[in-house]
């Protein structure tokens, strides 16, 4: 057990750094990138040091909300690795940003938000307190809102930011409901105490089930699962470095993490694992179809993220916690790599449309190689990290007997091979496009992170031994596996056949259609897929409808109440007028009223007496 204040440090350093960035921006704007990178590097070091003690964590606690709640941090095997991914990838992205963003305005805001984003993500995963998690969960949402809308004078970016915030907020309704239900039934926010309480039967079944599906809804929002995935493709309006941050290092991992964290709590809830499996499988397949027909390079990568996140959900659903989390780490590395490569390309050719790219490989050889490595990892080609984790996912599904979702997953794998390889060929091979004439190789400070990530994409699977040992120590998985064991298992398993089949089929399609430069006119289905299967249009129609109905109800109510008010005024004024007519100073009339009043009172008194 190590000194627990380091847990606070790994949050305090980036968040404090974010605040100091504002100061640096005010005094010496030139130093902002260097300062932010240094803070990022310090954070990365802290998260790596934390990894060492992750098996048997200490606990950092300060009072936070009176008797209700405390601010506690206690990273275990599951969370420390995700925190490390956020720290390390965040640091590389900051290094990359120095040159990538150098001509942008508002860099103080940019660096401060990126650091806050990293800090909040680390906080989200390392706390064992659901309320603190929710606090950071929302902070992450806030950062994504501000960073997606970074170019606020672009209306599309501003809208995309709002869309991301609102869509994830819809998911958060579920998450908050879940957290509050658990809190009210157990009186604590500590996830481990809640798990123990549930095991002891302290939480009534309906409450547990409400909480379980609430968490799934929250995770679907944050991790862009169908039907709440619509914000992620639009989020590509952000600068590409931000996309890398959202898609790889932070945000989207949060949902998968939350589901993995609460798996022991909800796995017995009727229908919960099935729901998680199916949400994942459907998301994976639908998003892969959308990616297949996307023309925009970043949009394709965004759909690909949605699809891979679907894999991770699917993995948890079929009980493959290790496989799912291992895929999360692999994906974080290769998706950061792909986005940063895409950023370097877009930076040079000033378009995101893949049709306008082509032949860039000769101009940018290092980027080409890095991108290829990323693509091979994404496609699941053997020895790249994506291969091992995807294979483990298939093996888990086979082991648990979820055959139909597995078919979805394998179909997704085929599509993944097709779209990822195609994108490589479209961007880097063939004839040099007009847009690429002036393209240059990127500067070293942008290449360095790419090369490091490329190395990671080839080698990261070698940590499986330590990783599984830590998860095992934490008590999340039954047994740890070593690298040798992993290779042995993989080579022997049936899942390998599925992986290879997917590769073969996908590869066959890509290479057989490669020569046909101008493909046949896309079918209706393809167009529909390219537009994201009309989810956006559907939601827009739904919102419009709801808005119309609400407007009609409110205006009807308003006119009724207006009418009632007018009637009341009319009556009051009329009554006043009548009354005024009675008090015109005519003594006779006044006397008449006075006397009749007295008579009435006497009459009442007499009747009462009698």
């Amino acid at each position: 057990m190590m000194n627990s204040s380091i847990y606070m440090a790994q949050i305090a350093v980036p968040i404090g750094g974010a605040a100091l960035t504002l100061l640096v921006g005010a005094i010496k704007p030139r130093l902002r990138p260097a300062f932010a990178f240094l803070v990022g590097a310090a954070t990365a070091c802290l998260t790596i040091i934390t990894l060492a003690g992750a098996g048997s964590p200490g606990r950092f606690v300060i009072p936070w909300q009176g008797v209700l709640n405390e601010f506690s941090l206690s990273p275990d095997g599951l969370s420390a690795y995700i925190a490390a991914a956020a720290g390390v990838l965040g640091c590389l992205i900051l290094l990359y940003s120095a040159r990538y963003m150098e001509h942008e305005e508002g860099l103080t805001r940019y660096y401060a938000l990126v650091l806050l984003f990293i800090g909040a993500m680390i906080g989200l995963v390392t706390t064992d307190n659901l309320l603190v998690m929710y606090f950071f969960w929302e902070t992450v949402g806030l950062c994504s809102y501000s960073l997606i809308g970074f170019n606020y004078d672009n209306p599309d970016a501003a809208k995309a930011g709002l869309k991301a915030f609102i869509t994830t907020k819809i998911g958060d309704v579920g998450l908050l409901t879940g957290i509050m239900t658990l809190y009210v039934s157990t009186g604590t926010f500590n996830i481990f105490e809640i798990i123990d309480a549930a095991a002891g039967g302290a939480i009534p079944a309906p409450a547990l089930s409400l909480a379980g599906f609430g968490f799934l809804m929250g995770a679907a929002g944050k991790s862009a699962q169908v039907p709440l995935h619509v914000w992620l493709p639009d989020a590509m309006e952000a600068p590409t470095s931000v996309s890398a941050l959202i898609h790889a290092a932070t945000m989207v991992n949060a949902g998968v993490y939350a589901i993995a964290r609460t798996y022991p709590l909800f796995s017995e809830v009727a229908g919960w694992t099935t729901a998680v499996t199916w949400v994942g499988a459907i998301t994976a397949l639908l998003a892969a179809c959308m990616a297949l027909y996307a023309r925009d390079l970043k949009r394709m990568l965004a759909y690909s993220t949605v699809s891979q996140l679907g894999y991770m959900m699917f993995g948890i659903g079929v009980g493959g916690l290790l496989a799912s989390q291992f895929h999360l780490l692999s994906h974080a590395i290769f998706k950061a790599l792909l986005f940063l490569c895409a950023g370097a390309v877009i930076h040079e050719v000033h378009t995101r449309n893949m049709d306008e790219m082509g032949g860039l490989g000769r101009k940018m050889p290092v980027i080409r190689t890095c991108y290829l490595i990323g693509v091979l990892a994404l496609a699941g080609v053997p020895i790249f990290n994506g291969f091992w984790s995807k294979d483990m996912l298939f093996a888990s599904a086979l082991h648990s007997g979820n055959i139909v979702p597995l078919v979805f997953a394998v179909a997704t794998a085929v599509l993944t091979v097709i779209y990822s390889l195609r994108s490589y060929f479209r961007v880097f091979t063939g004839e040099l496009s007009a847009a690429g004439e002036k393209a240059h190789q990127s500067p070293p400070s942008m290449l360095l992170p790419l090369v490091l990530l490329a190395v990671g994409a080839v080698t990261s699977w070698l940590i499986i031994g330590i990783y599984s040992a830590t998860l095992h120590q934490t008590g999340l998985i039954g047994e740890a596996i070593s690298v040798g064991h992993l290779i042995h298992e993989t080579v022997q398993s049936t899942a390998l056949l599925l992986s290879l089949l997917a590769l073969f089929l996908g590869g066959a399609v890509v290479f057989s259609t490669r020569k046909a430069k101008t493909a046949a006119a896309p079918s209706g289905l393809a167009l529909w897929a390219g537009k994201g299967f009309g989810f956006d249009q559907f939601y827009l129609a739904l919102l419009n409808g709801a808005y119309q109905v609400a407007g009609a109800v409110i205006s009807t109510y308003d006119s009724i109440s207006n009418w009632v008010g007018k009637a009341a005024i009319f009556l009051t004024v009329g009554f006043g007028k009548t009354l005024r007519n009675q008090n015109i100073g005519d003594l006779n009339k006044n006397l008449l009223w006075l006397v009749s009043g007295i008579v009435i009172i006497i009459a009442i008194v007499c009747v009462k007496r009698g």
């Binding site: 009176g66 008797v67 209700l68 606020y152 609102i166 309704v173 409901t177 009210v184 409110i554």
Partner: protein, 490 residues
């Protein structure tokens, strides 16, 4: 009760200063300074009272008043009272700083500051009042300066009509309170709010229920709960901006204070229980109605005004959940809603001040020209949307937790859903005004400038306050816990 002069001082100083301002008819500049000093002093004194109250439970002073009737003029501030008073005086001080540059002393005139100070004195006095009659007297005193401020400085087409509507409708609420107060005094002969609980316990349950309903409706009118909200949109949006802040961010707290104080200090627990479900439903309607209306309107101040109706729905929901958590959240939300709403109005104010536009579809892309205002407005919007690390996050989750600990889980989920609506309408306001292409249909876009320093300073102060409460709410929690211990109901 600890003997302390401060409750008297924070009531008398603004009252006297108000009279001085009124007297200095020809010297608006002097009045401005007097108002500033008075507000700062009152805020400082009310903060100084906090440690006393937390240590001793309550602090106050007893003075003989209408001896022949046995009424004392005694002031007492307990933890709930001091939380309300600090919220009122601190926000008021910040608002006065803002008003200095929003209106020139000549525009405002001495009487503006006179009425403002009287308004504050009445609010502070009503919170500290211990006698029912005294409370009612000060409650009504609150109405006069606020109506004057709306009528004489209002910006709408017919400020008189708006002021009249405000006066009459809130007066209906006050009349119900008066009926209940007189009823209580005649039946029990006791008029000390803090001693009534024992006296009331002997009354038949039906009488108690009727009394509780009278108080609840009376205070709900002040809180602008649907369907008694009708006075609010006009009054809050047509008042001059600093007054909108006073009404929306500050005076609404009086309704909340009154409801909590009377419902939970006076009545045995069973009485409130019978009202819970009905109040919850009205709270939900207010929440959604206010939110949808805010989405429907393009006049910026009106959006903020409807948002207040919606936010009061949150508060009432917390109270109606009849749980320790819900009540705690509602009390905490006084401060957080006050801060966020004041900030929202002020940033809208600096947009109006700078562009002359009052509707959000007349401007766009102002973030380049007024970056700090844009930042403050975003902070306000995100706070209202319940985003951390801002203060309202802390109170909203407690309100929702209160909802979930009531038997009506479905209603709690509906309340949580309203937070999406809230996020949507406030962020839409920010997006339409500050993001996108630069334009100003009401003037020259190149003449748009950042708000002047005093206005910015007060906006920064509120932003920092919201941030500080959101990041480390521990102190406030302990404060409110002391307040809740005095109820000891649940």
């Amino acid at each position: 009760m600890k003997y302390s002069l401060i409750p008297l001082l924070i009531f008398v100083i603004p009252l006297l200063a108000s009279l001085v301002c009124m007297a200095l008819k020809k010297r608006p500049r002097w009045s401005q300074e007097i108002a500033l000093v008075t507000c700062l002093a009152t805020a400082a004194l009310s903060l100084a009272l906090v440690p006393e109250v937390l240590r001793h439970g309550s602090a106050g002073i007893d003075l003989a008043w209408i001896k022949s009737f046995g009424f004392n003029f005694s002031l007492l501030v307990d933890a709930l009272g001091s939380f309300t008073i600090v919220t009122i005086t601190v926000l008021m001080a910040i608002d006065i700083i803002y008003a200095r540059q929003y209106m020139t002393p000549e525009e405002a005139g001495s009487s503006f500051y006179g009425w403002t100070l009287m308004f504050m004195a009445a609010m502070v006095g009503a919170v500290a009042a211990t006698q029912l009659i005294q409370f009612y007297f000060l409650w009504e005193l609150m109405l006069i300066p606020s109506t004057a401020l709306i009528v004489y400085w209002g910006s709408g087409k017919r400020p008189q009509a708006t002021g009249f509507k405000y006066f009459v409708i809130t007066h209906i609420g006050a009349a119900l309170i008066l009926i209940a107060i007189l009823w209580i005094i005649t039946v029990t002969g006791e008029s000390n709010i803090y001693a009534l609980a024992g006296a009331l316990a002997h009354l038949p349950a039906s009488t108690l229920t009727v009394l509780a309903v009278l108080f609840t409706i009376g205070f709900a009118v002040k809180m602008a709960i649907f369907p008694a909200h009708v006075w609010l949109p006009d009054a809050h949006s047509e008042a001059p901006l600093p007054v909108s802040v006073m009404l929306s961010a500050i005076m609404m707290n009086m309704g909340i204070y009154g409801l909590i104080r009377f419902l939970f200090t006076l009545f045995p627990a069973g009485v409130a229980n019978s009202l819970g479900l009905a109040l919850m439903i009205f709270a939900l309607i207010s929440q959604w109605y206010g939110g949808l209306q805010a989405l429907n309107h393009t006049e910026m101040k009106r959006v903020a005004a409807y948002s207040t109706i919606s936010q009061m729905g949150y508060v009432l929901f917390g109270i109606a959940s009849l749980s320790m958590l819900g009540l705690k959240g509602s009390i905490f939300h006084m401060l957080n809603h006050g801060t966020a709403k004041a900030l929202l109005f002020m940033s809208i104010g600096s947009v109006i001040h700078s562009t002359g536009a009052t509707h959000l579809d007349k401007v766009g892309g102002l973030a380049k020209k007024m970056p700090w205002t844009a930042l403050c407005c975003s902070v306000a919007a995100l706070a209202l949307a319940g985003a951390p690390p801002l203060g309202a996050f802390q109170s909203e989750w407690i309100i929702f937790a209160g909802g979930f600990s009531s038997p009506y889980t479905v209603l709690a989920i509906i309340a949580v859903c309203a937070s999406v609506l809230t996020a949507f309408y406030v962020l839409r306001l920010v997006m339409r005004v500050f993001f996108g292409h630069e334009r100003n249909e009401c003037g020259d876009i190149n003449e748009v400038h950042e708000a002047p320093p005093a206005m910015l300073a007060s906006m920064f102060a509120l932003s920092l306050l919201s941030l500080a409460v959101g990041i480390y709410p521990d102190f406030f929690h302990r404060w409110i816990e002391v307040a809740l211990q005095t109820f000891g109901l649940f």
